[in-house]
Amino acid sequence: MATDPTKLSMAQALNRALRDAMAEDGSVYVFGEDVGPLGGVFRITDGLTAEFGENRCFDTPLAESGIVGMAVGMAMNGMRPVVEMQFDAFAYPAFEQIVSHVAKTRNRTRGRVGLPIVIRVPYAGGIGGVEHHCDSSEAYYAHTPGLTVVTPSTPHDAYHLLRESIASDDPVVFMEPKKLYWGKDEVDPASPAPGIGRAVVRRPGTDATLIAYGPAVSTALEAADAAAQEGRSLQVVDVRSLVPFDDETVCEAVRSTGRAVVVAEASGYASVASEIVARVTERCFHSLAAPVRRVTGFDIPFPPPKLERFQLPGVDRVLDAVDDLQWEDQ
C-alpha cells in the first residue's frame, strides 16, 4: 500500500480507498451492477476483481433491493459489504431494505446485530445527465434514523471518508458528487482527514459564512473567490457529514461572521439545507445580523440537460443571496 501523497481525481481516490480497505481487511466485499470486470460505470471499482478475485468484487443481477438485502445478510454473517448503486435514482428500489433493515437492525435487536454496510451512491447533477441520473437524494437518507450520511468534496476527503465509512460499525450512505469525480487534487493516504461527524472550514472569511456540502462546495468556493474581488470576505464551511451533523463547527463559524447562506443542489423544500438553517437559527440567533438564507434547487424534478443550469445553484445566485444579508443595517 503506497502512502506517498499523490495527485488523484476523486474517482481514483475512491478506487484507492476501496483497494486499500480490501487489502487490509479480508471481510470487505464489493458488489453491485457492472462493478466487476468493467470497474463500474464511473470506474470506481476499476481493477478490484482482477486484484482480489471475483469472490471479493463481483457483479450481481440487476436488482437494487436484492443488492442491499444481500448486503444485510452478509453483514449479519461477519462481512463488511460495500455496495454500489449505479446512480442516485436507481437506488430507490432498495429504499425499503435501506429504511426498514439497514437503518433499523441495530436498534431493533437492541444492539446485538450491527450492520457495517457502505452504500455508495453517485449523486447530483452538473454532468448533463438525462433524467433519473441527477437526483440529489440525500435528504431521504439523512431523515432516516440509524443511517450515517457523508459526502466528500475533495479527493483527499473522498479517500479518508470512504476508509472510515468502511471501518465504521454502522451503516453509511456514502454520497459521491458525480460532477467532482474527475477533478484532481492532492491525496495523502497517510494523513487522515477529520473524521465522520466533523465539518471543516475550507476557506477562512470574516463577513459571511457559506455552508455547503458535496457538489455545492466548489460553487461556494468560487463564489467566495468572486466576492473577494469585490472586497467581501466569505468563509466557506464544508459540512461533509450530513449525519451526524457537526453543530459545533458550523455554529462557531456562523457566530464568527454573523451572517450565513446555505448552498445545496437539492430542492429546498424539506431539505438538508432547511435543516441546517433551522439548526443555525435555533443556536446562533443572537449572533445573527440577518436571517439565514438558502440557495438551493427549485422544487421541481431535475431538469433535462439543456435546462439544468437553471436548477443548479450558481455563483451569481449565491452572491445575490449574500447581498441580501441586510448589510445596510450595520
Binding site: Y29, N55, T60, P61, A63, S65, G66, V68, G69, M70, A71, V72, G73, M74, A75, M76, N77, G78, M79, P81, P93, E96, Q97, S100, H101, K104, T105, R106, N107, R108, T109, R110, G111, R112, V113, G114, P145, G146, T148, S168, D169, D170, G197, V243, P244, F245, D247, E248
Partner: protein, 361 residues
C-alpha cells in the same frame, strides 16, 4: 443449465399420510424415523399450545396482537426440525411457533407483541433472524447470509420462510434469482395458507402453483401437503440436504390453511365463509399425526402426558413472563440507534431524562 422438467414440482403436493392419518400407498419419499416423528409430534403439541396461549394473552390485554399459526403447526415444526444447529432460520411475524421450536425462549419472542421492544431475542444465540414484518424482505437476508457462509467454506443452510401473499413482492423474486445465480444454500419455504389478510390466493397468482415459480429462476421446487407432518419433514429434510450439498437453493411450497383470522384485530367473516373453513378442521395436522402415531403404537399414554406437560410448562412460562411488570427503560430508546450515540441523540436523551425527572419530582 438445469433441465426445466427437473426443477418443476410434483403434479400433486407430496403426501405421506392421508387425511385420516393412514400412510398413503406409493409415497414419493420414505418416512422419517420414529424418533424424529415423536420429536415432531412433541413440537406440534408445544406449537399448538403456544398459539392458543398467545391468543388468550391477547384477549386478556397482555399482548397487543398475535398472528396465529393455528393449523400450520406441521410447517412450523418442520422448518425448525429440518435445520442443524449451525443453520439459520429467517422467520416472519406468523412463525412464532417455529422460532420457539428452534429453542428461543418464548417470553423473549413475545417481547415484540408485548410491546417492550422490537426483536426480543439475540439472533446469534439460536441463529434465528428477527421475525420480519416487511413482507419478503428477510428472504434476501437469508441469501446474503448463506452466500457469506459459502464464501467462507462453511456448510450453513438458511431456511427462509414467507407466506403465499409475500410471493407477490419483488423481494421474493429478487431473492430466488440471486440465490440461484450465486448457488446460495437457501431453502425458501412458502406456507401457502390461502390468504394474505383478506385476499385469497387467486388474487396473488395465476401460476399453476407457487412452487412453479421456481423454474423461472432455475430453482428446484417441490410442493407438500402442509398439514402432513411426516411429509413436511421429509420434503424439508431433502431440500436442506440438497442445499447443503451445493445443489443450490430450493423452493418448497406447503399447502395449508390459516384457521384463524389474520390476527385478533381482523374479522375473517367479512371475506370467507364457515363452509370454507369447515373441511380444514378435519385436516388438522395434530389430529392426523396423533392418529398415525397411535396406530403405529408409538404414542403411549405416558408419552402423551409427558408432551402435554412440556407444552403446559411453556404456556405457564409465557403467562408468567408476559405478566412480569418491568417497564421498558425509555433511556434505551437512544442507545442502539448507532454503535455510539451521536451528539444530537445524546442531547435528546438528556432532554427526555430531564423531562422524566421533572415528572418524577
Amino acid at each position: 443449465m438445469a433441465d426445466a422438467q427437473d426443477l418443476l414440482p410434483s403434479e400433486q403436493p407430496v403426501r405421506l399420510l392421508d387425511e385420516t392419518g393412514r400412510p398413503v400407498a406409493g409415497a414419493a419419499l420414505p418416512f422419517p424415523t420414529a424418533d424424529r416423528l415423536l420429536a415432531a409430534y412433541a413440537s406440534l403439541v408445544v406449537g399448538r399450545r403456544v398459539n392458543d396461549q398467545a391468543g388468550a394473552l391477547v384477549r386478556q390485554g397482555r399482548l397487543a396482537v398475535y398472528p396465529s399459526s393455528h393449523g400450520q403447526e406441521a410447517c412450523q415444526t418442520g422448518a425448525a426440525l429440518a435445520l442443524a444447529e449451525g443453520d439459520w432460520l429467517f422467520p416472519t411475524y406468523r412463525d412464532t411457533a417455529a422460532v420457539v421450536a428452534r429453542g428461543v425462549d418464548p417470553v423473549e419472542v413475545l417481547t415484540l407483541l408485548k410491546g417492550d421492544w422490537h426483536a426480543g431475542y439475540d439472533p446469534y444465540e439460536h441463529r434465528v433472524a428477527p421475525q420480519a414484518t416487511p413482507l419478503a424482505t428477510q428472504l434476501l437476508h437469508a441469501v446474503g447470509l448463506a452466500h457469506a457462509a459459502r464464501l467462507r467454506g462453511e456448510d450453513t443452510v438458511a431456511m427462509a420462510m414467507c407466506g403465499d401473499g409475500a410471493t407477490s413482492e419483488g423481494d421474493f423474486h429478487e431473492a430466488l434469482n440471486f440465490a440461484a445465480v450465486f448457488k446460495a444454500p437457501v431453502v425458501f419455504f412458502v406456507q401457502n395458507n390461502e390468504y394474505a389478510i383478506s385476499v385469497p390466493l387467486a388474487r396473488q397468482s395465476a401460476a399453476p402453483s407457487l412452487a412453479h415459480k421456481g423454474v423461472g429462476y432455475g430453482v428446484n421446487a417441490e410442493r407438500v401437503d402442509g398439514n402432513d407432518t411426516p411429509a413436511v419433514l421429509a420434503v424439508l429434510d431433502r431440500a436442506v440436504a440438497a442445499a447443503r450439498a451445493g445443489e443450490g437453493p430450493q423452493l418448497v411450497e406447503a399447502h395449508t390453511y390459516r384457521m384463524q383470522a389474520h390476527t385478533n384485530a381482523d374479522d375473517a367473516t367479512r371475506y370467507r365463509s364457515d363452509e370454507e373453513v369447515g373441511p380444514w378442521v378435519a385436516r388438522d395436522p395434530l389430529l392426523r399425526m396423533e392418529a398415525y402415531l397411535k396406530r403405529k403404537r408409538l404414542l403411549t399414554k405416558a408419552r402423551r402426558t409427558e408432551f402435554a406437560e412440556r407444552a403446559e410448562a411453556v404456556a405457564a412460562a409465557m403467562r408468567e413472563g408476559v405478566s412480569r411488570d418491568a417497564e421498558p427503560d425509555p433511556s434505551e430508546l437512544f442507545a442502539h440507534v448507532f454503535s455510539t450515540p451521536t451528539p444530537q441523540l445524546r442531547e435528546q436523551a438528556a432532554f427526555l431524562a430531564d423531562e422524566l425527572s421533572r415528572e418524577g419530582s
